[in-house]
Symmetry: C2
Subunit: 343 residues, 2 copies
Amino acid sequence: CDPEAVAAARAHQERLTKPRGSLGVLEEVAVRLAGAAAVSPPPVPAPAALAIFAADHGVHARGVSPWPQEVTQQMVGNFLAGGAVANAFANQVGATVRVVDVGVAADLPAAPGLAIRKVAYGTADLSRGPAMTREQAVAALEAGIATARELVEEGARCLVTGDMGIANTTASAALICAFTGRDAAEATGRGTGVDDETLTRKIEVVREGLRVNGLLREGAVPGLDILAAVGGLEHAAIAGFILGGASLRVPVILDGVIAGSAALAAAALAPDVLDHCVAGHRSAEPGHAVALAHLGLRPLVELELRLGEGTGGLLAHPLVCAAARVMHEVATFDSAGVAEKES
Amino acid sequence: CDPEAVAAARAHQERLTKPRGSLGVLEEVAVRLAGAAAVSPPPVPAPAALAIFAADHGVHARGVSPWPQEVTQQMVGNFLAGGAVANAFANQVGATVRVVDVGVAADLPAAPGLAIRKVAYGTADLSRGPAMTREQAVAALEAGIATARELVEEGARCLVTGDMGIANTTASAALICAFTGRDAAEATGRGTGVDDETLTRKIEVVREGLRVNGLLREGAVPGLDILAAVGGLEHAAIAGFILGGASLRVPVILDGVIAGSAALAAAALAPDVLDHCVAGHRSAEPGHAVALAHLGLRPLVELELRLGEGTGGLLAHPLVCAAARVMHEVATFDSAGVAEKES
């Protein structure tokens, strides 16, 4: 984050024809974008590109989700056919959609819009031991970094995180507990819809995963090892996507709880990357609020979404653009001949 | 609201390739749009047109705002020159901007984008007696209705309310108290930025206005008379704009506290118009939350904006479109070959 650009952005905000502070949270977004881009006014971050990282989870075998594992693969087909909610939202905000197979438990046919960067056919069961080897976690991080670079080379000026992976809120809950020290019951939620019995089991599975991987004591294990132990391949890829976006000074809009938990891993590896992140929304999943509080990020959209795919991040994109656009298009009191407030 | 379209929209939502309820508040928005349009799926409400109703306020003389009254007129010039935040946000969401003079305290030169529908050179001081005559309130309502009709004839498929009027949060607070029975201290806020002393005076002025106009007892006075007694010309025009949009079955996105208080007046005249309204955002002004609760509307954007002009309503437009777009573009479980949740 560039302190000169931050100061210039704040000073510019004060001269614009609007009462001071009247754009609320969006003023901070604009200042943040300026700091991240190291220039004020910051570029309007458009067009956006959504990357949906898809992967499967060994922990699915523990009965933590009511959805069959095959839905991961089927939804990839749905994204590629343009039929998912993420596609509709991407159309709404003018974003492109890239699907990245980093760990789907099946071989996917080649298709336009699909990048095969498969690290494994899903993770191992995090409740019985490490979900990934260190090497797998690094390979998935690299897949995310490469995706960020590719999308920016193709013209994206904003990256939006997306995910698809049946059972991936279980891995997110475990990551959030490990990085924040919170108990499994506080960070584990109903995901895309589990009943009370399944929720109880899911919490126990998260707790087992933390215990078996030696993660019940906060701070005892390096971030990369936490990621490998209880993360998913898409979590690791999203962490890499954040690192990649930040290194290119392109803003990254985080979607929901998957992205929030991945951002904790990215920040453990390189804390400064958070300067380049905007929290797109806050999902209904309780762990997401825990993650955002720990990251110090304020979400822009709070509409009780709990879908994933990048949907909440996409909805935030016009808001982020609006915040930046103000810095380019709005007149100053002097230039517009508008009187200022009498103090 | 059409119950068949509502039922059809709900049934359609359940077949879409997403977990039930996972779009949170946006699912209700889509159902609401279907009911209002009497068809499912409802049309995507684009393009939008913003109407900024501008007027001055006799109560400004009581020192309720730190801004000179001339700023109303100067900001009209800023809107017409494209230099205000509302212009930047309209550009972002692809909306047109119409400025409507319903009561600016000066003669404005003709300009493209400006409609002169002036009812008076500002209102009388609401703290000393009625702000408007009944005839003036009706004329301003008609100006709003005519504006809605004109914009829809020109192609708008969504109307966004906007306002400009130094001291208009004082009139809003008085309207909210009169329509909801709340005390002035609960509904009066700092507007675009008043200090503690001015806030205390502002609350007292609102209370005087309610007392002198016989509005301290809820339900004693018809809605139109309340509007005339303590409303502003832009409040009356926005109430008419809502009536006009509803009568044409075009959704109306409400901006902040000015729109919220105007919607209370519109609902008092014709309660069904609320079916056609979407609360775009919740502003930092305390009376706005009171008004929205009374109206039973849930705001889409909550970013502590307190600018007015229609800025919060514009930011909500892509969210409303996204909600409708899902109903057109997202595949069903059957058509996409995606397995459903095991119950």
